[in-house]
Structures are given as structure tokens and as C-alpha cells.
Subunit: 540 residues, 2 copies
Amino acid sequence: MKEKVYLYDTTLRDGTQGEGVSLSVEDKVKIAVKLDQFGIDFIEGGWPGSNPKDMAFFERMREIPLKHAVVTAFGSTCRPNVAAEEDDNLRALLESGVKAAAIFGKSWDLHVTDALKTTLDENLRMVADSVAFLKSRGLTVLFLAEHFFDGYKHNPVYALRVLEAAEEAGADWIVLCDTNGGSLPHEIFDTVRTVKASVQTPLGIHPHNDGELAVANALAAVQAGAQQVQGTINGIGERCGNVNLVSVIPNLQLKLGYDCVAPEQLKQLTKLSRFVAEIANMAMPNNQPFVGNSAFAHKGGIHVSAVLKDPKTYEHIDPELIGNKRRVLVSELAGQSNLLAKAEELEIDVALDRQEAREIVKRIKEREFQGYQYEGAEASLTLMLLEAAGKLRQLFTLDSFKILMEKTADQSISSEAMVKLHVNGQVVHTAAEGNGPVNALDNALRKALETHFPCLAEMYLTDYKVRVLDESGATAAKVRVLIESARDGEKWSTVGVSTNVIEASWEALADSIRYLLWKEGCEEAERPEQTEARVGIVNH
Amino acid sequence: MKEKVYLYDTTLRDGTQGEGVSLSVEDKVKIAVKLDQFGIDFIEGGWPGSNPKDMAFFERMREIPLKHAVVTAFGSTCRPNVAAEEDDNLRALLESGVKAAAIFGKSWDLHVTDALKTTLDENLRMVADSVAFLKSRGLTVLFLAEHFFDGYKHNPVYALRVLEAAEEAGADWIVLCDTNGGSLPHEIFDTVRTVKASVQTPLGIHPHNDGELAVANALAAVQAGAQQVQGTINGIGERCGNVNLVSVIPNLQLKLGYDCVAPEQLKQLTKLSRFVAEIANMAMPNNQPFVGNSAFAHKGGIHVSAVLKDPKTYEHIDPELIGNKRRVLVSELAGQSNLLAKAEELEIDVALDRQEAREIVKRIKEREFQGYQYEGAEASLTLMLLEAAGKLRQLFTLDSFKILMEKTADQSISSEAMVKLHVNGQVVHTAAEGNGPVNALDNALRKALETHFPCLAEMYLTDYKVRVLDESGATAAKVRVLIESARDGEKWSTVGVSTNVIEASWEALADSIRYLLWKEGCEEAERPEQTEARVGIVNH
């Protein structure tokens, strides 16, 4: 029986403290659902007392059933000289409707006297009262001892008394925070082992990465007896980030033999990492340990031949265990079987022979090399598979488009687009305005097609993301555009790549429309009398 | 007396194995000179036997006197069944003219029999002969035991015999390599300690970062008795990279009390890191430990007030010790004193009264509400402060611009921009093409201004980021554009926000130019005769 280590994700709260990280409520909901599927135990969603966006997240989550994870709200202990039940911050935690709350309190005497400006005894009262109050309302309570390791160095007796206060008040977990992120693994190990000897409550660790040691610090804490690790996906977070759960999990599970998630869930690790990077619009470093594109890429000739003979000669783990892959020439057979599995997953019926499958795998690889990414754009992948299998009718083709953007001397701005399409043998030539060049193009395209395909009227774009691929090229660099569309609650994503942001957007827009037309059949489009009847309506 | 840990840099050899890393001979020379100034002990320049570029580097370095560092060449032991003095690879090492050589040999039995296809005894002969041969020619010899930690796990007796063979042959250093990068800190510690007990030769450690544990592994090895760390600047290298010396050095020196470089040299650490990133044309992550832009950036309101009272409350080291600086993030600017602290940090001399400061804070908050973000765009913030203080001359103003983007029936794409500006009382009206609308606008803007402000010719854009702010609006949503520009190694960032990606880009582009003009003075721009003289030159 393997020992369990609990995973506590704070991407949605501490992660958003990272410079340049900003997540909408819907982004947070999407990430929470994926974290749950992956097997995370606690999902910290925000600080309900601090802002309305975080409160809105907890409201949304009440409607969404999770399989496994406990949605957790973050807050602090009550203020000095305020009773816990009178404290707005603690009340906001209750109002958020969560079943678990994580509250931080001071454990470094310097912070109590100098930052909080209260007495050491009053701080103990605040910790105890706050924990007891939340426990009395039926919550699972995690007490986060802020700056614990620095505090323990300066005044071990007081730091331990703070933990004892939380324990006596009934805390379910005591989490030791390396808030400044500067502790070393041997310090973490020794301190956790000492704490373990005097505290019965299960311990957690909350490391930051200021010394580039956060992953090692998490492992050291677990080896010394901690049973929970708090971190973020891809290590996002304030300053140098929180500990990167994406690296902690495979180290714990594959190397140290702890139980974190099921093996099938672990295979989703690479996808989870890339999904969060995509939603947060953060460039993933290729050399990211475990899940990076280069993590199992073999360059040197000696390495390649050895790794093909025996992967363990140059690979520390089997990349498949975490859903990543080796990037030596992938065997074509493996490519083909993967492809058919993917087609099945996408619920498309393609009968491909060996040669066709080889061709598609080759095409996908070429396009990925150009910068396309199909993990976040499965509708575009579906279209490519259908096309290769000869199952996609060309319902429209582009003849040309023009976009004119103007900022005049009076500083007013306008954007217009003209499109010329071939639809069912007819030429459709129309124009529209928009509040930007891509929006104008989008509007013109729909205007041209809605007449023929009424189902497009109910489709709308829900997300539009631009990522610069080769940053050294700056405004001349390649960009990848990801578009998410929705109709009737169903959503799909498409991708376009070009050095020209408009061209990349056009590709993704066209794919999103083609996907819907394939999915819905859109048969009414072929009756010319209906087409004519509708022309008048939409020609506004 | 502090114990010395020797620094061995392999940025120029193992670093260039990283995906996308490519350094010219001159790049390598520049980096070597900086590494020497910084206090690196060994600079591994390349593998003379493997390619002519590496040989050319060693030739160049013979002309360049270094103050401290020993230029070192990399190679392997002789081939099976070939005498060391007959081996081309070892001869190339001698021909390179270096005083020190690092040769790798197998220490994992599996690699000897399966990859090298020879006997365990022959491998010992190869190690001993190769070391003895190079020693007999007067070189300092470092023996690199490839895959030592994996080998030691599988066959500790043989792994140790390999080290003994190198020691008996006279190796000056024995370096233990975690070639696959998957070892854990406690394994490294235990193994190095065991080796230390049976080998008298000084030990080094060569970790890779596949488990996100390389820095911890380097520290563990030193704590167990290793006296040399081999790594790269910024951790570049194959797969997930080599260990990052930029993080190893301050951990060893500031936290563990070892002696690596002089304190004045340590203050150059941030510059060194950024210099190498610049030469290697790699984007530095803002959250890079110790030297990143965000490494000492404080966002949360509680943190800011505490850190201003006492930096050690939220900083693990004093950033000045490594040449980095504290940044108070603007979003938390709450009042006049913070604003003035910021102005001082930005090195701008503004004398604001209480009322003016209030106005600026209000303006910043309004613009942040609109979607501007000044955390990543301090040049735009600087301009705003200067403007408010009446210290910014308007050197140019926009009259109008037009952009035409066209995709024709033959599917070719073009982007053109026209701009009309007022510069020094003149109207400049010009046009340019680009490989996208923003690039065309950028080109037209520079073309219009370079005549008047020649310093713009040396400025270039290094990064361009687009973030959609309100995703529900999709292509009609607001976007934020962040642009990073550089000149002479100095970088600055600017921001623009609009529902129109082109307009937002224009704002950021214009700010980046205005910032440089302010910073540089650009006085020659005001002499009309010079302006006229240059018109002919640039009007291409």
C-alpha cells in the first residue's frame, strides 16, 4: 500500500499573484474542472473577502459538480482585537459556501510585532479563535503558518506555539509555508521532522521558488513526514513562483513511490500543464521539466542511437507515463495507431489505410513544426482528418478579402472588411465594419455565409487568443491565433498560424465555421429559394 | 576562512546542445570574456574533435588574455582498442592548445556493454590510458564520469572502479555526472559522500535539470564534499537544461557560506545572466530566481507595506548583493510616497506636489481599470509621470494612419501602412510594407522618424505580446499589447489598450519611441540642416 500525498492546487489564487497573470471567472472555472479530472484533492479558488471576482467564482462553482476535488477558499485569521465571528474576512469565507477553508496566520514573531503590530499572545488568540470558529460551522480547516521556516529559525518556541494553537483549536491540516522561498532542502527536512515530532495534525508544505529549490523543498518536506503539497500548475505565482506541481507530482509518484493520482490521470499531466498555460496565455518554456516540448528531445547523435536501443540510457522516466513523448523520429506505426485512437476520441468515422495515416501524421508534424498546436484546437484537427479521409465537402471557398483600417486626423478609428467568397457556385461579395480588423473580417464572413447557412446565426465566438511564437522577431514574428466558438452550449476550438495576425485569425475563423457546418450538416443551405429569401433579411 | 567551490561553466559547449541555442565563434568569445571577469574558474569552450567552429574558438582564445579562468576543451576517452596516443579525438584536444581538458568516460556498465559494445575491462583501460596520456602532455585533466549516479545504482563496484582508474592515472578532478538529470537530492548526497570516502581526488558535480532538481542536486553534492560545480548560465542545455549556475552561485555563497567569487563580482550576476540571454537570443523568464525582473517584485498590499518597513519580511536575500533590484508593482501604488519611491526607482526627477501626485495615482487607477498594466510596462509609466510633471516635450504627433491588408484571389497577402506625422513643425507623410499590419505600421513609423532621430536606427523590438482582456467579447474584445524594445543592451517595455489590436499596437509603439527619445535626448534631431542631409539617405 503506497502512502498518499494530498495535492493542493493554488493556481487560481496564489498563481494569479504572478506578474502578468490574469484569469477571468470563466477561465478559473475551466481550470478547476480540469484540475478535478486530473485528481487534485484541494482546489483553492480565491480569497472571497478580497474582491468580487473571487466571490463570483465560488458562486459559479456551486453549480458545477466535481468528481473528487474539494473547492477551498483562502483567507486570513481574524484581525487583532476582533472576535472571529465579527470578522468580515472570516464571514466572507462562510458566505462563499465552500466546505474547506485555508486561513493563514503569522508564525514569525517579527511579523506579529512589526507588521501586524500586536502582541504575541493576541496572535495566538487570533489563530485559535479563527480556526475554532470555522470548525464550529462545519468546515474543513487548513491552517497556513506564514513564514514558518524563517520564524522557526528566529524563534522556534513561538513558531511551534502558533502551530499548537491551531492544533488545539481543531485544525484539520497545518501547512508550513516557506513564504519568502529562500529555505534550503536540508533546512526544510530538519524543521519538518522536528515539527512532526510535536504536532499530531497532518502537515502540509507550501514552498516558493526564490532559490530555484521549491521542488526539492517539497520533496524534502514529504520525506520528513508532510502529507500535503501546495503549489501551482507550471509554478506560476508571485516573484519566482510557487512550487511547480507539474514537477512535484511525477517525482513523488514515479521516483519516491508515493500515491498522488491514478496512473491514467498522471498520463494527463502534460495536457494539464499545456491547458493551463494556454488559458493563462503564458508561453511554456520548451525546456520545462517533464512536460516541455524538449524534455524528451534527443539531439546528439550518440544519444539518439542509444535511446533508440534502450530509452533508459538517456531518459530518466518513460515520457508516456506523464503523457509527454520522445522526440526522436516517432515510429510511423506508433503514429498511425495513435491517430486512429484520436479519430475515435473525436468521434469521427474515418477508415484510413496505412499510407493515408502516414500522410496525415506527416502533415500534422509539419504543421506543428510551423507552430500549429492541435491540443488546444481539436476542431481544426478534426477537419484535417476528415479532409484526408475525403469526408469533408468544401461548402465555401475564399476568393479574396481586403481590410482597411484608418485613424484620421480627428483621431477617430474605423475598420472595414470586404470579403469575396464562392458559396454553392455563387459569388458572394459583401462588406462589414467592426471595432477592429479581425472583428470586421469576422462580421463580413458571417454576413456572407449566414444567408446560405442559417445555423451560423446562432454561433458566436467565445474566446480569441493571440500568442507570439518567435519572440525575437517581435512585430515581424509568427503568431498563433486560437479561437473558441460556441452554439447551443457546445464549444469547439480552432487554430491559425501566420506572420500576419489577420491571416492567422482568418484561418481560425474559417475553420470554426467549417467545423460547425460539418457537425450540423446544414442541409437547408442547398435550397436556392431559401437562400434568396434570406438575402434580403441579412443584407443590413 | 571560507571553503572554496570551483565554478566550471559549460554554456559554450553543453549549453549549445539546448534546442534553439546557436552561438557564433564571436558570441562565444564575448561570453568567455564576461565569464572570466565574473570569476568563473573553468570555461569549457567546445569539443575540438567534433567540429571546426569549436576549434576556431580555441584559436581565437589563444589571442585573448584572461585574468583568472582556465579555458578548457571537452572530449571523450579514446575509442575501444585504440591507444590513447593514436586517438584522433585526444589529439584534437592537444591541438586546441588548451591547458585543461575534460574527458568523459562511461561508468555505467550497461552503457559500456550495450552502447559502447566493449568489455568492462577495456573501458577501464580506455579511461586510464586517456587520462595518463593527457597528463603526460602537461594538461590539467578532469575526468567526467558519465551517468555516474545511474551506474552507481546498478553496479556500484564497477562505477567506483572507473573512478579509481582515473585517479590512479593522475586525474586532477573527478566529476560525477547526472547525465539523465533524474537523480534526487538525497541520492546525490549519499552517493557523493560514499565516493568521497574512497577517492582522494577532488570531486565535481555535473547535474541536469530533468526533475527540476538540478540546483538542489548541486548543493547536495557540495554539502557531501564536492568542490566543483559544472553548469551553464541560465541553465541552458539539452532537454531541460544543465544546472543553472546563476542560481547555484548565490545559494552556495550567500546561504551556505562557501567562497565562489568576490562580492563585487557577485554583484554582476544579474548583468551576466541578462548578457548571456541577450547574446544567445533567448527570452529570459521574468520569474527566473535571483535575477529575473519579477524576482523581487512585490504586488500584494500587505507585502508592499511590510517590505518597505523591513525588506527581510518578504525577501530571502538583499537583491543588491547580486545586482538585481526591488520593484514595487504599480498596481499597488496607494499614495504619494509610493509614487515618489517609484519615480526614484525609475531614475526620473519629478517634483510633484500632493495634488499632482493624487492626480497621477487617480489616472493610473483609471487606466488600469481600462485594462492598462504598468507592471510590465515601466517605460509607459515613466512617460506618464514625466508628462504629469511637465517634463516631456512632444517631439512628434500623429496626424493619421491608414492600413491596407489584402488577400487576393491568388491567395497572396500584402500589408501596407501609411502614416502622417508632425515632426519639428514639418509634416512627414510616408508609407511602408510589412509582413503583417502591425509590422507595416512599425516600419512606416520608423521610416518617418529615423530621419529626424537617428538613434532610432539602433533600436529594435524584442518582444510583442497580445492579450485579450475580456474574453467573452471574442474578436470584439479589448486587447492589451505589450512591446519590449532594446538598444545597446538596454530594454524597456510599453503598453497599449484598445478594442482594436492595431490601435493598441500603435500606442505601445509610439510610447517605445518616445521613451527612447526622452532617455537619449536625441539633440541632433533639432538641427534642420542635419535633418535635411539625412532625408536623402533614408528615403529608400
